[in-house]
Symmetry: C2
Subunit: 503 residues, 2 copies
């Protein structure tokens, strides 16, 4: 989930002030609503050292009524706490209905900082994840809103901040040797955090990743996430109340600025550099070389009985077909299957939505290439309302679980998103319209989908963020130049296979 | 969960026939309803070898429309299946909406038979439980009814059945060396099954334990469980439909005999031998000896920093107070706390129901004795409607999780149910009424609760079955004779501590 985050995002002072002027009173109103409705709220701040947790907590509590919240700074367990079960000190600090508990680091210490510092057996680690998920489930089932924020900064930025702190006598004590070690071994510590996020990303308590290099951006993003989640819960609770007390008047609508989150969404797609391109000559040369390697690797996969799952998604006319073709040209036709995904037929509809994909999964040594995938659930089905909000929200976890099963059984799992911009799509659509041999490729539905570009973009950003995992990453393919896209796909597949074979 | 099952239960031929005459057509009707409502159903048969799974499946399908179900006999993975992820062969066999899939053993092979035969790393085992729970969650979230039956027989009965099968040439092939080994090492195999049941007992897919020594009893119990669960789901689905199609007529009521399950409930309490008693002399002698041992052990616990959690539940006037007194008399007052549980106060009510118990948990080396416990959730709160059905059903899992957390952190966790019969309770109530010094102990509420004896009995049976675990067992205390009860409590505590200290 961290890999895809764009840490270069910034917010200008003016825009920041404008946003905060709207969001601060909105948050204060939501606090009052939560109190009135008896909703307990927990906000967890996790993230890299020096990512600004303390400062951000101060910003967050600024508009809040101080009688209604409490901040807990969680350190390593003291002697007293060591004598209790791991979760004890958190259970006893869970807020009562209508109050807000803010945790400056939390139960996640155990599977991040403490895991890094102390080492932990795999079994103990697995058990800790289980305890955490169980704990969060018990709270959210009972009506607690659990907001989990992860503040992300780069190795370089972290180093800069540590150095600045060390430079002054007044702040040097805030940096210890362990902090510096975690900066030095940033990649390994980041991988632990990535695993933590993956294992504890649930439908009942999802993570919000905060781009924390620019402090104004981080503050605004934290406010917008907290407001969005509280607002949803308040609405839900009011509807429940209304349904319960038929005829009675529901509470007043909470006034939340409509566009409070605008420009703050984690946008994976917007940072994609679509100018990347190869010339025809470069393309031909690379293609030849990669296809030869792929051909050899395919035999190796078969011999070593490694299954491969490749999923292709992307904008209409994004170039999926062409990329798949260049990939399969290099493969032995007895060892792969291209599985196209259309709208589900009657039999498929009467099963779980994952059923038809399970049926098409490759056996050991084989490759299945999915031309469109199970991710339809959180794109077309979400946008067209073919499934409920609850169903597509749950789906992120279900799809991660399925891919984890595949990876656990030894499969290589890669997912490609073929990205083009809106202009390029129009150009390609028109080209298809004009070329009699390509006309079959373009339908009215394509044009209709195009009108929903913004909705899809939002859905895709969320999807990539929530389902890009260490065991089944999304690879964003810059697709305006077809040569570039095809080579990147081939290269990524070849690299993933080579890495696996080296293990 | 297996420990508490009464395997001596039988059903006479006549009663059996009478029950089946009602239940067979009811099941057929429910199958039609499920078809009409588009509910997919999975019935899983697990249990000891020779417990009669094949025979019982035959009985179950007898009244069913053969066009609407399928039976899958699951063996070890064949060469083809070995090339896929573990769950693949089950995912592809999940039934479509309105159909019933019956599994003669299932995905649970992996954590029972295969675990026993092959050995498995702890990590792999933990992962398998996780995959199974994830799989079942995905199905039930999507609307599948998942009925999990575990057929239980004793070591002796199993041996008898194997011998009978081996005796005849026609059936000898059905018993292999592994079967015999699992019989020989029955206790160790049973412990694996117990763990399996504990780890996969969830609110969305609970287990039904079937007493399978008497085949008629088993058949009737299986029918009653399947009917009960399907009936609940059909009702729920119809209500959802009604809520959706306001004004439209709901489907017809399914006719299910009201008392179809009568006499088949797993009754833990009914098998308790309340005639057990000690004379005053026996009592005094045993008490003295046990209290002396307890006193020494308490010091050891403190030295070794082992926490102890003792929960006391039981009928009003069941003798909890007296038993607790005899226990604490032998303890160092600085090392234990008796935590009485009354109705929750305002602060407690505005937290999660487990919060106040977490707060009272002992630290390392200390003992907390709970006079009434968190189990109020599934007794008084269930019966008086202080929480919703969904809440108390979820609570079994939550309480098991809490106790697992305690046990994982090193605690000894024991739960006592003080059992007396209704006559004995009346005698004690009257005694309290007549004795001015005991009058404070009896209130109108006690008499009112007494009227709900049958409801409590049902709730207690279910509670003990679902929350008696290897790491936090229920101990049923035969309480009509107070001397006997007090000694049994002391003995159980002493034994549990001694066992732990020997480890």
């Amino acid at each position: 989930m961290l890999e895809q985050i764009d840490l270069t995002r910034k917010l200008g002072k003016e825009e920041y002030q404008q946003k905060m002027e709207e969001m601060e009173p909105a948050l204060a109103r939501l606090q009052r609503e939560c109190k009135a409705l008896g909703i307990p709220v927990i906000v967890v701040f996790e993230g890299f050292g020096a990512s600004g947790k303390g400062l951000q907590i101060n910003k967050l509590i600024h508009p809040l009524d101080p009688r209604g919240f409490e901040v807990f700074a969680i350190k390593g367990e003291n002697e007293e706490e060591k004598m209790y079960p791991f979760l004890w000190r958190f259970w006893i600090r869970t807020p009562e209905k209508g109050r807000i508990a803010i945790f400056d680091t939390s139960w996640y210490r155990k599977v991040s900082v403490e895991r890094f510092d102390k080492k932990m057996s795999k079994e103990e680690l697995a058990y800790s994840y289980q305890e955490i998920n169980t704990f969060e489930r018990a709270l959210t089932d009972d009506g607690t809103v659990l907001i989990k924020l992860f503040l992300h900064i780069s190795k370089k930025e972290q180093k800069k901040r540590f150095e600045k702190l060390l430079h002054s006598k007044e702040t040097a004590w805030r940096v210890n040797d362990e902090d510096l070690k975690r900066n030095k071994e940033y990649e390994s510590y980041k991988a632990m955090n990535e695993e933590m996020l993956e294992r504890t990303e649930t439908a009942c308590a999802p993570w919000s990743i905060i781009e924390a290099e620019d402090r104004r951006f981080a503050t605004a993003k934290i406010f917008s996430e907290v407001i969005r989640i509280l607002n949803e819960k308040v609405k839900e609770k009011k509807e429940q109340k209304k349904a319960g007390e038929k005829g009675e008047k529901g509470g007043e609508e909470v006034k939340v600025p409509e566009d409070f989150g605008e420009g703050l969404d984690s946008s994976v797609l917007s940072k994609v550099d679509l100018s990347l391109a190869y010339t025809k000559e470069e393309y031909k040369e690379k293609l030849k070389e990669l296809q030869e390697r792929m051909s050899l690797l395919h035999g190796e996969l078969y011999r070593k009985k490694i299954p491969v799952v490749l999923g292709f998604e992307g904008w209409d006319a994004g170039g999926k077909g062409g990329a798949i073709k260049r990939l399969t040209e290099a493969m032995d036709p007895r060892g792969y299957l291209v599985s196209p995904t259309a709208a589900p037929d009657a039999t498929e509809k009467s099963h779980h939505y994952l059923w038809r994909f399970w049926k098409a999964m490759p056996k050991a040594g084989h490759i299945t290439i999915f031309d469109r995938t199970w991710y339809g659930r959180v794109m077309v089905e979400r946008i067209e309302g073919f499934c409920t909000r609850e169903e597509w929200q749950r789906a992120y976890r279900e799809m991660n679980d399925m891919e984890a099963s595949l990876a656990h059984s030894g499969a290589i799992v890669l997912k490609f998103w073929l990205q083009i911009d809106k202009d390029e799509q129009e150009r390609r659509f028109n080209e298809r319209m004009e070329n009699p041999e390509k006309q079959w490729k373009i339908t009215d539905e394509d044009w209709r989908n195009r009108e929903k570009w913004d909705l899809y973009e939002e859905a895709v950003n969320e999807m990539i963020l929530k389902t890009s995992t260490s065991y089944a990453p999304w690879i964003i393919v810059e697709g305006n130049n077809k040569y570039y896209a095809r080579i990147k796909v081939l290269e990524s597949v070849v690299r993933a296979i080579e890495e696996r074979l080296r293990e």
